[in-house]
Symmetry: C2
Subunit: 259 residues, 2 copies
């Protein structure tokens, strides 16, 4: 079950995707939100609590705290280190990527800290106009031989349930000769993860970015990512290409989407 660790930059201006967060956690997940403040005389805990009031009303367990540190990334790292060994630890770091590139370095460090502490990572790039559209179509992009798909699959299923959505399993290959094998691969995976029978399978032939352009229309595109340094520029570009909000998901290594 998805237990999110959610850094909040500034509770006074935060306008995070509350409904989306609800939809990937409901009904059995939880949220641990925190913010980091420089001036320890303030406390933003009340503001934080207020932010998540609408989710609390949906019976999702939300806890929140304010950390005193002059450096957001360092404070966040200590939260990750502290919680990662506690009994009811979060299992997913949830980050959002804005248009401003200034935070990219900090985000990358947080991803490294989370991975070290065996947390999965979800990075959301919300499309500024489309947001989550009709909250229905979900493209899950899979790569043959990539091991990083368990958490992406679990989040896809979670969204499918809460959106009453439709899943497209999508993969891409530059080689036309791969097409049949890849259809087989998708169908097998769909079976093993017990995806709903309405699920559709799509193989796109061509380079990755062209394949993305030809993707079936969807309200969100979900990609698994490996353990390399993340390029947030790439994330922004893919969201523009798909004209949709995109989710990039890294396994912690402890998930299994196999039934």
């Amino acid at each position: 079950k998805p237990d999110l660790l959610l850094p909040v930059d500034d509770p006074k201006v935060w306008a995070g995707p509350l409904l989306f967060i609800r939809n990937i956690t409901y009904p059995s997940g939880s949220i641990f939100a925190f913010t980091v403040q420089e001036d320890e005389k303030n406390t933003m805990t009340d503001e934080l609590n207020e932010l998540f009031e609408p989710i609390k009303n949906e019976d999702i367990l939300v806890t929140s705290t304010t950390i005193d540190d002059t450096n957001f990334q360092h404070g966040a790292k200590l939260v990750i280190q502290t919680l990662s060994c506690s009994t009811f630890r979060p299992n997913i770091l949830f980050l959002t990527v804005g248009s401003n590139k200034d935070n990219d370095k900090v985000l990358n460090k947080l991803v490294v800290d989370a991975t070290k502490s065996r947390l999965g990572v979800i990075i959301l790039r919300q499309h500024s106009r489309k947001a989550f559209g009709m909250q229905r179509g979900i493209n899950l992009w899979l790569r043959d031989k990539s091991p990083n798909w368990h958490l992406a699959m679990l989040i896809t299923l979670q969204l499918q349930i809460n959106w009453h959505g439709i899943i497209n399993l999508v993969t891409a290959s530059p080689e036309k000769s791969d097409e049949k094998r890849l259809y087989n691969f998708l169908e097998k995976l769909g079976d093993r993860a017990r995806l709903p029978s309405m699920t559709e399978f799509h193989v796109r032939i061509g380079p990755f970015k062209e394949a993305v352009l030809q993707a079936p229309p969807a309200d969100i595109n979900i990609f698994g990512i490996g353990h390399d340094t993340i390029s947030f520029d790439f994330i922004r570009e893919i969201s523009e290409l798909t004209k949709s909000s995109c989710l990039f998901v890294r396994d912690s290594g402890e998930e299994s989407a196999l039934v």
Copy 2:
């Protein structure tokens, strides 16, 4: 139930009172141990885990983590802030006072951070030769009109059970005329907290330090402390005067020892 937060200065040299910690947590308490390291390339988590192996074998839930911070007190503060809002949060910060005064300032800051985050505080001054003696006699010092006795009482009861110990309720007054009233006060409190029938009541007349000298012999002396800054010199002195290990206990305000 006592859920201890236990800072460990250096796991490689730590020689904390493991059996005592066991005896104030067993059977339903828990321990969250952490250390702070400067060099993030190390990780002392394995050493920490090993330290507490003997307690784990007694079915007490032990979790431990290593935090990266160049400043022990700052790292510890963030652990307190992070955990204090989590679902299964520790409720007592457990500190030990050595002979060396260099750490007194840091300890006092940790006490302030813990109190802000609504944790109770236990400060142990272990007598260098006596340690915990025969693990039997427990003096619990109470002050008329002091509200800070709930956690001290709960820890006393916990020790009494695990030591099969005998409790002395002790109080002191400079005024001989107070004697009868204070016996009444002790007996009433003993009743309300349902202390074992073997419990003895002692009123000592004289200034506090003289009263301490005349205390009934015991293997530990337990004192409630208020919300003023703590004098660790005073703590060391009292331990010398009683020739025993001493425990100084501050309520979080959320305990109740009344049945």
